[in-house]
């Protein structure tokens, strides 16, 4: 799970988190056992639909301002180390 979240945990942390997550998930047993078959899962508080913007150009950022916050830049691009593996 830590790998999927790109986190590294020490053995002690694994132990603590495992116990803590266990107790949180145990609390969640109160809903895990409910029969909620007929209910529509709720992703949004309100049932609004179809929110659009028009296809018109708005100003982009000044590149210098954008790149000024980057940890590493080369040739006006964000620089990173070696990428292992292609995008999925």
């Amino acid at each position: 799970m830590a790998g999927l979240a790109r986190l590294e945990l020490s053995p002690e942390e694994v132990e603590t988190y495992t116990a803590q997550l266990g107790s949180i998930l145990a609390h969640a047993d109160d809903i895990a056992g409910l029969d909620l078959g007929g209910l529509e899962p709720m992703a949004h508080p309100f049932d609004i639909e179809n929110v659009f913007r028009p296809d018109t150009v708005t100003p982009s950022l000044e590149r210098d301002e954008l790149l000024s916050q980057a940890p590493d830049v080369e040739r006006n691009r964000f620089k990173v180390g070696r990428i292992l593996g292609e995008a999925p």
Binding site: M1, A2, L4, A5, R6, L7, E8, L9, E13, Y17, Q20, L21, S23, I24, L25, H27, A28, D29, D30, I31, A32, L34, L36, L39, E40, P41, M42, A43, H44, P45, F46, I48, V51, R53, L61, E62, E65, L66, S68, Q69, A70, P71, D72, F78, V80, G81, R82, I83, L84, G85
Partner: protein, 474 residues
């Protein structure tokens, strides 16, 4: 600063006082006491003084700077202001200066308000005490051995300590109302979609909502009138149906049906239950009808919340990867750099929630956890809608206890999470709620009572809140 925001604004607009002197007063108060209380992570001394000059110049030129003219304002440090470092209480942002400003802040500045600085919070708004801030906790001005509550603790302290009359927080599961109750303030979570989230660093997108802290219900209404409104930059922003909050202040509660909700009381300390009942009596005396009501589904909110919010957070916080902004811990390859950066940059609670959320969404567990939590969210919302068929508003406690001491709940996350029990259901439903100070407990710590209303009926909160404010114990 003892004056209300509305008094300051009317004095500045009439020329009875200047924005510059108001800002100076605010900065002086911060300088005098904030080393101890630690409400602020950053005080924008120069920026605030410059903004005050602009407001005063407008007045002098005969222009009206707006309904919040010269009102000093504190901002939770998960709100973006262009060019001002935003930390979210985390090491991972590492001095990041956003290249843009949040919609709410643009609205406030356009109304003449003056941002004074950025306030402390639990890292990424995850927590109930500010103890999860990477920069150390804030202290409760009523008793500095106590937490101010969280996650918007710094913004609560900034008002409670008299630095500023109003401030902004964000409320995902109670992060405005709980610190408001702990610090003796009015804290309001608007209907989801009433305040634009554009420029609020997301914790849990479908639950987050920006709202104010104020000393009075009237000030909360005043600032909310400015920050509420449709924003095309936020797809979840509601287009219409914004009630008149200022007009609600004098409306009274005669004939209003108030549901005294046992599921917003059971488990609270006796002294808190007693104050909620006293509040009910105040309302009854003012002509409201008090109806006892049980909504047992609300009890399930905690579990649903602690699956949904971490799930969304695990995804929202993926972008802190060391590539485009913020902290980077250099490693040979990008994946290792991501891991090293996130491991060094995030604190324990954030990691815990990312892990929990990743787990809740992962293959094989989605239906049992995330899916079931989404259905529970519907169940709770339906139960609230059902209750609102027989009552107009619900009344209960904001928190089960008054402000607790530092370290009391750090070791056991579940005990910390339980302090959100009464505030969570409204976030799940997207409904509005307000916490209004009402009396104090045995140790002299403030107590808050909570009013809940159906979605888009935020005016009812101000109607009831104004009556409670007048009837609160001295």
């Amino acid at each position: 600063m003892t004056e209300s925001a509305s008094k300051i604004a009317s004095d500045v607009r009439s020329g009875a006082r200047t924005a510059a002197s108001t800002v100076k007063e605010s900065l002086d108060a911060i300088a005098a006491r904030d080393a101890e209380l630690h409400a602020f992570l950053y005080v924008d001394d120069l920026g605030a003084r410059a903004a005050a000059i602009v407001v005063d110049a407008a007045i002098e030129a005969g222009r009206d700077p707006g309904p919040l003219a010269g009102v000093p304002l504190a901002l939770k440090d998960n709100l973006c202001v262009r060019g001002v470092a935003t930390t979210c209480g985390s090491k991972i942002l590492n001095g990041w200066k956003p290249p843009y400003t949040a919609t709410v802040i643009e609205r406030l500045v356009a109304a003449g308000a003056i941002p004074i600085g950025k306030t402390n919070l639990d890292e990424f708004a995850m927590g109930s005490s500010t103890e999860n801030s990477a920069f150390g906790p804030s202290r409760n001005p009523h008793d500095t051995s106590k937490v101010p509550g969280g996650s918007s603790g710094g913004s609560a302290v900034a008002v409670a300590a008299g630095y500023v009359p109003v401030s902004l927080g964000s409320d995902t599961g109670g992060s405005i109302r709980q610190p408001a109750a702990f610090c003796g303030l009015v804290g309001y979570k608007p209907t989801y979609g009433h305040v634009s989230r554009y420029g609020l660093v997301a914790f849990s997108s479908s639950l987050d909502q920006i709202g104010p802290f104020a000393n009075t219900v009237g000030d909360a209404a005043l600032i909310s009138t400015v920050i509420c409104g449709h924003d095309p930059a936020d797809s979840t922003s509601l287009r219409d149906g914004y009630p008149d909050l200022m007009g609600a202040l004098e409306r009274g509660v005669a004939g209003l049906r108030v549901g005294l909700c046992s599921d917003l009381l059971d488990g609270a300390d006796d002294e808190i239950v007693a104050q909620v009942r006293a509040a009910a009596q105040v309302l009854e005396a003012a002509g409201a009808e008090i109806i006892d009501i049980a909504i047992p589904e609300l009890r399930l909110g905690l579990s649903a919340y602690y699956l949904l919010a971490p799930a969304e957070a695990s995804s929202n916080l993926a972008r802190y990867d060391g590539v485009r902004f913020g902290l980077r811990v250099e490693r040979d390859d990008v994946a290792a750099m991501n891991v090293a950066t996130r491991t060094a940059g995030f604190g324990a609670e954030v990691k815990r929630r990312i892990m929990l959320g990743t787990y809740a969404l992962s293959a094989g567990y989605y239906d049992a956890y995330y899916g079931q939590a989404q259905k529970t969210r519907r169940l709770i919302t339906n139960a609230l809608d059902n209750a609102y068929a027989s009552v107009d508003v619900l009344l209960g406690a904001t928190t089960p206890t008054t402000a607790f001491g530092f370290g009391d709940k750090v070791a056991d996350p579940m005990s910390m999470y339980l302090s959100d029990l009464f505030t969570i259901p409204t976030n799940l439903a997207g409904h509005p709620a307000i916490s209004v100070p009402f009396g104090v407990g045995a140790t002299g710590m403030p107590i808050g009572v909570q009013i809940l209303a159906p979605g888009r009926k935020d005016d009812l909160l101000f109607q009831v809140g104004a009556v409670l404010e007048k009837g609160a114990p001295a």
